[in-house]
Symmetry: C2
Subunit: 108 residues, 2 copies
DNA sequence: GAAGAATATACCGATGCGGGAATATTGTTG
DNA sequence: CAACAATATTCCCGCATCGGTATATTCTTC
C-alpha cells in the first residue's frame, strides 16, 4: 500500500474533493465553491491529489477539469481486502486452529 | 470516511505496524524489533493507532499486547466500495449515456 | 523493598503542512 | 493588444508531527 495515497487523502478538504469527484469531473472553481474554500487552496490541494495520481486534469478553454483516476483507490481496495479475515466470522475456527499450530511450533 | 483513520495510517512505520498485526497480536518490543525502530517511537506510534481505535491493548505481565481492531479498516472498505464503478467496466455504457445527458442539459 | 525488564511519557529541535494574501500565468474576447 | 476570467504559484506564518534522548511508570522476582 502506498503511503502517498493515504497521506493525500488524510486531509479533510482533499477527502471531500475525492468524494465530490466520485460523481463526475469538476472544475477548480466548482470544487472551491462546493467546499467553501478559496481558489488558491483548492488549486494547492488538487495539486497534491494530482501528484499522488489520484486525479488527473484536462484543460478546457479557460478552465481545468479534474477527474478521478481509478488506480490508487483500487490499490487501496486490494490492500484492505487483505484484512478481510478480521471481520469475517467464518474463519474463526481456522484462526483458532492456526494459532494452536503457532504455539506448538513458534516461528522464532 | 474518518480522516483520523487515514492520517493514522499515512505514516510508514504505522502502516507497517498494521501490516505486522494483520498476522496476529504482538508486543511493543516485538514490533520495535521488526521495524528496526527504537522502543519510544514504537510506543508513540502505537498510541496514535490506539487513539484512532485501529488497535487495542491488553496488558499481560510486564508487557502490552497490541492487536488490530476491525471497525476502522472495515469502514475504509465500505468507503472504498463506493468508488467501485470507477474500475468496473460493466458501467461503461451507462457512464457514456449519463455524460451525453450532461452535455445536452448542463447543471449550471 | 531493591533491582531489573518492558513500556510510557516529557522535552527538544528540525521539518513539513495548511491557510492567507498577493501575484503570476494562461486563455478568451472585443 | 487591452481587459477580464480562471487557475497556478509564491511568500509568510503558526502549528503539528517525527525522531532522539532522558526519565518516569509499572510489573515481576528475589
Amino acid at each position: 500500500m502506498d503511503v502517498a495515497t493515504l497521506s493525500a487523502l488524510a486531509e479533510p478538504n482533499r477527502l471531500q474533493m475525492v468524494e465530490l469527484l466520485r460523481d463526475g469531473p469538476l472544475t477548480v472553481g466548482e470544487i472551491a465553491d462546493q467546499l467553501g474554500i478559496r481558489q488558491p487552496q483548492a488549486s494547492k490541494h488538487l495539486k497534491v491529489l494530482n501528484e499522488a495520481r489520484i486525479v488527473d486534469v484536462r484543460p478546457q478553454a479557460n478552465q481545468r477539469i479534474y477527474n478521478l483516476r481509478p488506480e490508487p483507490l483500487q490499490d487501496m481496495q486490494i490492500w484492505i481486502q487483505s484484512f478481510r479475515r478480521l471481520w469475517e466470522d467464518r474463519f474463526d475456527r481456522l484462526d483458532a486452529y492456526l494459532e494452536e499450530l503457532q504455539k506448538e511450533n513458534p516461528t522464532e
